[in-house]
Amino acid sequence: MGSTGEGLGRRDLIKRSAALGLISVPTMSFLSACASGGEGTTKGPDKGVVSKENPFGLAKGGKLDVVIFKGGFGDDYAKAWEAAFDKKWGTTSSHLATQEIAAKLQPRFNAGNPPDVLNDSGAQMIKIDVLAKGGQLADLTALLDSPSLDDPTRKVRDTLIPGTVEQGSQGGKFVALNYVYTVFGLWYSGKLFKEKGWTEPKTWDEFLAVCAKAKEAGIGGLAHQGKYPYYINVVIMDLIAKKGGLEAMKAIDNLAPNAFEGNPAALAAVEAVYEVVEKGYLMPGTNGLTHTESQTAWNQYKAAFIPSGSWLENEQLKQTPEDFDMKFLPVPVLADSKLPFTAIRAGANEAFVVPEKAANKAGGLEFLRSMLSREWSTLFAQQANSLTVVKDGVDPGVKLRPGTQSAVAAVKAAGADTFNYLYPDWYSEMDSDIQNASNELMAQRIQPKEWIKRAQAAVDKAAKDPNAKNNHRS
């Protein structure tokens, strides 16, 4: 055996191909993703007649290409919508439900053949700021000014919950319809609290007291989704907004040089969260758990509180015991807070967009207009256990689950006292840096002062982003 001296021996061949593989394999899978297609040519579809019933001039019998993120809400609601749409307009809808939004859609955006409607959401979404910056999103202002399907005398704009337009605007242009109305805060089990005789805490001191009692009872006070520090940031940022008022929140979104550093509200908020860690009120191991792991542990009564948005109930549907009695709690307030306890972070998410280069743009806009009708909104609430941005958009006859019910009550109690951060949509990198700092804080590897320093550094870095010029809230 061995090489024969002529040509390539078997082992040489293996070795050489392996060497070639060493060069190509690790890089190739990523680099080939870099390859973009050529610019596609978009051919305009047939135009229908523009009328009050058909404000975008949708031609009957065309095609509609819909891509839905198949996450916590499933995709049954979208199938029901598409069927209704096809029936009304005689269109043929193609339906793609996926979690891999970026992988599937990025090549299509680059090649100039995006779908007509895209639900851009989930962990692998394409960031809206990035899409908008690249001029890939259609201006949805025409949608806002079109007549509502329920009441043609009203504009669609007037049927939306306040904040929807602001939330979906990039650089002053309304490009994304965030469809699901979400409230953020802490959650607990009504059953557990009743059994133990605990009451709903309204101040941070009361919150710590419940955590202390939980610890005595042998369970964790606060659980959080440690692998995704996004969730603990809800608590930190809400405490800042409540303590320092809307000004403190806007300072962060507007990348103020004193957004964190030199802002007493920020330091007080971070110190308050750190106290939970220091006193050992965290559920053991929670810092390393995924969202489903920690939420399931919380469903098994291993912790009193967990932070999350109002999608939690639908997400945990299978793991939640029948008598769990899920309850929403606005983040409790620190002493001398500018906003009341009832104030909540609330906003629209689950972005639906119409790409600028969509083959059937009129169809996409009409689809979005239909989504904002009471009929489609009710359909969504039934299928996905969540509220939409349509004002009073759910038929009163629909019975809601306890968590959603308590969230609705909280929304009513909050009244006009709602707030919402925009920096995660505007500055992905800053968001990611602050999340890293929070992970370190919760693991007790850094102190509150260091967290403030790192968060400010992230803000200062984002301020250098050329995009920072376009984003400003007042």
Binding site: M1, A19, L22, L31, D129, K133, G226, N287, E293, N439
Partner: protein, 315 residues
């Protein structure tokens, strides 16, 4: 034209016919993306739009100052040393024990008792895909009492259940935890590879060594290893590929967008690249990283092949 020449011409055409299609595919799907990547690395392409500006070497100079990328590079180099060395040493040891480690019985050279069974057991991890491994070891390293390791350790009284070890959330442990998964996955395959090579070594060599009074260690170092050098070299190159990649494991098992957490302590070049490419919308910058990765891997593969070159032993 002579009969032979005509036949040769026909053969050339026949071979060329086979080569055209693969070559075209290779150029389109391997070489062309590289060329494109190189071009994009000089732009501020966002990855979501066909429009971008030329920015010259800006991406490369930014890369020099990028602490996260430098950290990732360092982790890749650490893995590049440890993954091949540990995997090959373990695989060699097990392969030797399975094939030539046993001493009892007539004839001398054989594996330890039950070696056929061991071979199957060792090879088993290779059958699992990396995605399954990530889930499996996610359960092993789980940071509360529900994790296999934490459960065992707290049962044995070595860990306080109120303060479980957060394996993948501990900056000092996370990289080693990942290393263990790769080694666990690889050892079986290389064991089988080395076993095959050992079985092709003529028995009389072992018997001669045995008659000369060589012990197990001597047999291994003086006989087995030199005869296996080609296979070891190939393995080192293959394991180098695994160590330079690591994307699937790191991105699924650790925290952060595309993994790399906690606080960049498990970052590898591929995860930093992907985060910039898909999440931060800095695709031009990510392409510059891709080019750096390409250059580094090219240098490394040349060095590996040169450094391990030895005189071939004929048998």
């Amino acid at each position: 034209m002579s009969q032979v020449a005509r036949r040769r011409g026909r053969t050339t055409g026949f071979i060329a016919g086979f080569l055209v299609l693969p070559l075209a595919l290779y150029l389109t799907f391997v070489i062309w993306p590289y060329v494109q990547t190189f071009g994009y690395s000089f732009t501020n392409w966002s990855g979501q739009s066909p429009t971008f500006d030329f920015v010259g070497l800006e991406n490369y100079s930014a890369l020099m100052d990028d602490e996260v990328f430098r950290g990732a590079l360092w982790h890749n180099l650490l893995l590049l040393v440890f993954v091949p060395v540990i995997t090959i040493l373990l695989a060699l040891f097990f392969a030797f024990m399975v094939n030539a480690g046993g001493r009892s019985g007539a004839g001398g050279v054989r594996g330890v008792r039950g070696s056929a069974f061991y071979k199957i057991v060792y090879f088993f991890p290779q059958v699992l895909s990396l995605a399954i491994l990530a889930v499996l070891f996610g359960a092993v390293y789980r940071s509360d009492e529900g994790g296999l390791l934490n459960g065992l350790l707290s049962w044995a009284g070595l860990v306080d259940p109120a303060r479980p070890v957060e394996w993948l959330n501990d900056p000092d442990l996370v990289l080693w935890c990942l290393l263990l998964v790769v080694v666990w996955h690889g050892v079986g395959f290389y064991l089988v590879l080395f076993s095959a090579a050992m079985q092709s070594v003529p028995r009389d060599i072992y018997e001669a060594a045995l008659l000369d009074g060589a012990g197990r260690a001597q047999t291994f170092l003086r006989v087995t290893l030199p005869l296996l050098w080609d296979s070891v070299q190939t393995s080192a190159v293959y394991l180098g590929i695994a160590a330079m990649d690591m994307f699937v494991l790191v991105s699924t098992m650790t925290s952060g967008q595309f993994g790399g957490g906690p606080d960049h302590h498990s970052e590898v070049m591929a995860t930093v690249l992907m985060r910039n490419f898909l999440y931060f919308g800095k695709s031009g910058y990510a392409c510059a990283m891709g080019v750096v990765m390409l250059v580094l891997t090219m240098i490394l593969s040349i060095v590996t092949l040169r450094a391990t070159r030895r005189e071939r032993i004929e048998f």
